[in-house]
Symmetry: C2
Subunit: 359 residues, 2 copies
Amino acid sequence: MERRAFIKKAAAGMAVGAIAAPAIAQSNPTINWRLASSFPKSLDTIYGAAEILSKRVAQLTDGKFNIRTFPAGEIVPALQVMDAVQAGTVEIGHSASYYYFGKDATFAFDTSIPFGLTARQQSAWMDQGGGKQLLREFFRDYGIMNFAGGNTGCQMGGWFRKEVNTPEDLSGLKMRVGGFGGRVLQRLGVVPQQIAGGDIYPALEKGTIDAAEWIGPYDDEKLGFNKVAPFYYAPGWWEASAQMSFYVGIKEWEKLPKDYQAALEVATYETHVTMQAMYDARNPGALARLMKNGVKLRSFSKPIMDACYKAAMEVIDEEAAKNPKFKKILDPWRRFKQDQNQWYSVGELPMQNYLISHK
Amino acid sequence: MERRAFIKKAAAGMAVGAIAAPAIAQSNPTINWRLASSFPKSLDTIYGAAEILSKRVAQLTDGKFNIRTFPAGEIVPALQVMDAVQAGTVEIGHSASYYYFGKDATFAFDTSIPFGLTARQQSAWMDQGGGKQLLREFFRDYGIMNFAGGNTGCQMGGWFRKEVNTPEDLSGLKMRVGGFGGRVLQRLGVVPQQIAGGDIYPALEKGTIDAAEWIGPYDDEKLGFNKVAPFYYAPGWWEASAQMSFYVGIKEWEKLPKDYQAALEVATYETHVTMQAMYDARNPGALARLMKNGVKLRSFSKPIMDACYKAAMEVIDEEAAKNPKFKKILDPWRRFKQDQNQWYSVGELPMQNYLISHK
């Protein structure tokens, strides 16, 4: 810009006083980032969270800090978002870290550990219980800084072509189930498959798999699983909650002006509230529609839950015995979880149970 | 600023490029607001939420939008924060709207209705279930715009000098209990008292009151109630959750530049996550300490819970019959609640109950 013109604009900006902000911020640096999401655009809840982030950050920086969101597969495949951030292919990703469980089981603490924390407990652990610090230390080795950005709440146990009543019924079942849950189920004879969201339906339809877990009624309904597997089980004990996170390349983060960093960080909190709220507000209606369309709702039997719990504790302990990074987080996480459940058993849970008894 | 100096500064700001933001934003308008909190400084959770908001807004606006926080009593008494915002004495308040239940019972929807929504359900209702729109319409008549800003989770049922086992034991009890809960308990013979946090202890000590509810272990411990009333009851059914909100004068809101509005709005989301997380992370330890100091933990008996539930439904229906504003919100709120509890009974709550069984 020519010098005189700049003065003129700046002066104009000053004159209008309280409503001058947009004019002034013109000289803030323009920064363009690309965000790779692990989710398809059709999942407006979970993909939508990244769009909310992008919109808010732009608004807070007068459109100067642009984060363009890309659904799974446009820049990188769904399950390679973390790698893309690590490699610097994209500056930021939105994903579930347990997709990267194969690299290191420690990743799962950022999303969900089988029979782990509820959504609210996960938030408390992350924000005020030391979880963020522990996980950031872990992610640093990947050149990544993590920010909690959404939760689904307790997920469903998935779609089954046939009923499962006993732990024995699980044996030989080919099931789409992510990372940690898969390893636990393997111990009960399940053959776990890691398949991205968009590829589950055809696999279930062809009978390549016998069962598939995805998220919950609202998302599952869109993917149409009910047409090919009528039994819908609860709860998804491998995801008492599932936290999504934004993964930012540390090098890119450090290049940001301080107020852009603040804008990005604070916007992750908004998505954290909004994504959970979207799921909670939309799941009930979706479940009602699914039931009307003949879906058969089932609960995992106590023998199945107990067998899975036992297997989960074994797998967790074995991992801790051989993986010091995992153990370093597991120990304080377990203490936190125990304290939470003790506290929840006093008032929160009796209250919720009482409310449900009057539903 | 002298013209030449301004050019120099502006040019300097441009030269440093990506890290120039603080220098540039100098020409944003400086806006100073005062925030009146309904809570004492000693409650670092709940008063702390307002400080988090203030800090973040300043950071997002390069220190130009200043919200100075004042604890209860410094500008206005704890229970007059809403009035102060309405009158324009302060630009923003942080309070619990059910303190203003005496003006209109409809206020309670913004905090808690007896046997109402859990914290997560309240967030879902507010953010994605139509609650925010309904409440903003109601608050508009008071010249106020509301923003959810924190939740305590399910509160405790309070401190009792003597045990209460049957609904009859409640009769004649003088109890500090806010708004709606008080009116319900009145039906069971309780004499409710509305007393600000700081004044509860002396009243309980002198025996002016027989019982007092406040929040939960972490806050209650600080106020020392255990020294004067040993029986600590759960759950606080009048507060299955209690949402705090920021109340902004609409006239002041409209004077803000758009990006300051965005900064304030997004910062409320952060406090919403952080306040709940602070409570969840700190309550378990506080309860353990209280128990070590001889506090006797009790659960309200089923007959007491049922009598209170029945009385609550009567009071709610009576209010709806005579108060169209209340009824307008109640009807959709009830449908939302029913759907939520139906959905929670499928997976979320069975999962939580299973986790607790292994605590």
